[in-house]
């Protein structure tokens, strides 16, 4: 088991290196291939009134004239050892891990990301709890009452959930529950309170985004669970459990659901990892200051270091999520441990 974990960890590190290179290439190499000059790239950092001369100076200062490998090396060095940036009267230290420095807001990217992470995490964790409970619950009930009215209704709703985009459900939910007069019980967009400040307010402000996001995912999980349950409930070991005299609830949860859980865990791990990297649409629809909104704002402002930072962080989360899924797999399915 220990070697298994070590092997996975090494793989994850290599993966991250590759991701960082790919990200770097996408943001720096591709524009160059597409014909962007160092000055052109630098002009994004020097405001709207900048002259060509300013852009040229900025390109020099930002090192856009250096060979790409040098730029990448500088980037990696920043991540490992930190970097320094001139802000006028002095230099600002961008401590490791320096995932870049925004010349538009004049801030290191990493602290920004850490500042945004709790919002996205709050959103993801709450939504995940709801969608897991609802999705798995509905999936189990649907499977047990296969072909019933409940099953059909639930699966139709689930299909809608999978198909409807967040920017639609988000806006509709806000209009109905936050702005519509008779039902406006939920917080309007743009409100966020940290958990530590007030857990109640935190949950109140997030309930609508949670439910909206959960609706999308719950649908997938309901279908996944249903399919898994239909399969496992036909397994011989379910009959064995019943033959032991085990109560039906325990048969379903302890034996049936446990068997159907593996694919759910896999999908959940990846979904959650992706979501922590930024629930772009949900955060945008509800104006939540999380990583996803951060990414959108950064893209809107063409703030490249931010975009890169958030991309890398998202990649880190996906890789970590993958790692955790692999490890969880071994916990859930003892047969995997042989591998």
């Amino acid at each position: 088991m220990v070697t298994y974990i070590i092997r996975r960890l090494i793989g994850a590190v290599i993966m991250l290196l590759i991701v960082s290179m790919a990200t770097f290439a996408i943001f720096f190499l591709v524009p160059q291939i597409a014909g962007a000059t160092p000055e052109g790239m630098a002009s994004r950092y020097v405001g709207r009134t900048a002259s060509a001369e300013t852009a040229k100076l900025a390109a020099e200062r930002l090192g856009f004239n250096d060979p790409l490998i040098v730029q990448y090396g500088r980037f990696v060095k920043g991540v490992v050892a930190g970097a320094e940036y001139d802000y006028g009267p002095g230099v600002e230290k961008c401590p490791a891990p320096c995932l870049g420095y925004s010349f538009i807001t004049r801030q290191p990217v990493f602290p920004d990301l850490m500042n945004r992470l709790p919002v996205t995490f709050s959103l993801a964790i709450g939504a995940a709890v709801i969608w897991l409970l609802a999705g798995v619950g509905i999936g189990v009930l649907s499977a047990l009452r296969r072909g019933s009215f409940f099953d059909r209704a639930a699966m139709t709703v689930a299909l809608a959930g999978v198909s409807l985009p967040i920017f639609f459900t988000g806006l509709v939910s806000l209009l109905v529950f936050a702005y519509g007069n008779p039902f406006s019980w939920a917080a309007q967009g743009g409100h966020y309170t940290t958990f530590l400040d007030s857990p109640v307010q935190w949950a109140y402000n997030l309930i609508l985004p949670w439910v909206t996001l959960a609706f999308l995912f719950a649908a997938t999980y309901a279908r996944l669970t249903r399919a898994g349950m239909l399969e496992t409930m036909n397994e011989d070991y379910i009959r064995t459990a019943r033959a032991k005299g085990l109560g039906e609830r325990k048969v379903i949860v302890k034996h049936g659901l446990r068997g159907a859980l593996t694919p759910i865990i896999t999908v959940f791990g990846l979904d959650f990892g992706l979501l922590i990297g930024g629930a772009v649409l949900t955060e945008s629809a509800y104006s939540l200051p999380g990583l996803g909104k951060y990414a959108v704002d950064a893209i809107t402002n063409q703030d490249l270091p931010k975009v890169m930072g958030v991309t890398l962080l998202a990649a880190v989360f996906v890789v970590i999520a993958n790692l955790i899924v692999d490890l969880l797999y071994a916990v859930v399915d003892p047969r995997v441990r042989l591998a």
Binding site: D236, Y237, R239, T240, K244, G245, R258, G259, D333, P334
Partner: protein, 350 residues
């Protein structure tokens, strides 16, 4: 009243294509300490019967009628919850393929502990001790170590022993073994059968063995019930059924039994055709389309359902042919071909 008694048990499943009459009027009885072998092809209703006794069809789509009396209690009309309380404790079951019948994600010990603790309010520790004890009794070496292994760590035979340990963990009075040795290789089969016989004596439980393999029942059973299309076609002591079988289907089963002393293909007498659909059971005798002797019934085979009639001393047969004709057919045509006697003798000899 016997310890276990089935009276006219019917288990029908409504489906989109029609009513599946898996068990259709089955009656038999079984005493403590005795073994009943139920024999038949797959789809003949034997497994459905055993699950029916355990009450596992309750709450599902099945329509169940008739009576199942277990130790003076009627189970068909009992609540599912009551039957659940009996399951595992008063009656237990050993399943065919222990790899798929045991949960792959829980250790063998956990699964035995779970079975034990459903019916015994004891600590986990005590249950674990009991589980180790049971594993030892079914002949698993180093039980205190193997108790924490997962099913996939066990060999096929060991797994079946573990399965038996789980079934016996609550000291059931009725044990049903559904094809207990089918998935095992021959040497292991013999060990398992020995084990079951020993344990049955030790626990003095009533045992039902369900199999398509006459060799297994021959070794263990006191009585044998031959099922075809949800009905009993022949019932009697092991001696009756093996030495004096009167139903052409039983003859077919005996004839199609693979034997070590027989040449492959040579003189093997398989039954023609396939088992009937349980939705459209052939009219008259359900076996008649496959029966080589159906022309000897004066046409009744395809029109009239034969009764299960006693021929002598508890031996019952469901056949339109006159008793004399059946006996003469067996003595003159069938018995010489199947050489059954030798085989039995060989097995019975310790």
């Amino acid at each position: 009243m016997s310890f276990l008694e089935l009276k006219d048990l019917r288990i029908h499943f409504p489906t989109d294509d029609g009513l599946v009459k898996s068990v259709d009027g089955l009656s038999f009885s079984l005493e403590r300490g005795k073994t009943l072998g139920i024999v038949g092809e797959s789809g003949s209703g034997k497994s459905v019967t055993s699950l029916g006794i355990l009450g596992l069809h309750k709450g599902g789509p099945a329509r169940i009628s008739g009576e199942i009396w277990l130790d003076g209690e009627e189970l068909v009309s009992a609540t599912p919850e009551h039957v659940r309380g009996l399951r595992g404790k008063k009656m237990a079951m050993i399943f065919q393929d222990p790899l798929s019948a045991m949960h792959p994600y829980y250790t063998v010990g956990d699964q035995i502990i779970e079975a034990y603790r459903i019916h015994h309010k004891v600590s986990k520790k005590a249950a674990r001790k009991h589980a180790i004890d049971m594993l030892g009794r079914v002949g698993i070496p180093e039980p205190s170590r193997r108790v924490d292994d997962y099913p996939h760590h066990f060999s096929g035979g060991m797994r079946q022993r573990a399965m038996i340990a789980m079934a016996l963990s609550c000291d059931p009075e009725l044990l049903i073994a559904d094809e207990p040795t089918t998935a095992l290789d021959v040497t292991v089969q013999a060990q398992i059968l020995d084990l079951m016989r020993d344990l049955q004596r030790e626990f003095d439980s009533a045992l039902i063995i369900i199999t398509h393999d006459l060799g297994v029942v021959a070794e263990l059973s006191d009585d044998i019930l031959v099922m075809y299309a949800g009905k009993c076609v022949e019932y009697g002591s092991a001696d009756d059924v093996f030495y004096r079988p009167e139903h052409p289907y039983t003859w077919g089963l005996l004839g199609s039994m693979p034997r070590l002393d027989r040449e492959p293909t040579d003189r093997l007498m398989p039954i023609k055709g396939t088992p009937p659909s349980l939705i459209n059971v052939p009219p008259g005798c359900a076996f008649h389309p496959r029966c080589p002797y159906s022309d000897r019934t004066a046409g009744r085979a395809s029109t009239e359902v034969p009764e299960l009639l006693e021929t002598e001393g508890g031996h019952k047969v469901r056949c339109h042919m006159p008793k004399a004709e059946r006996r003469s057919l067996w003595e003159n045509e069938i018995k010489p071909v199947v050489h059954w006697e030798d085989e039995i003798t060989a097995v019975e000899t310790p």
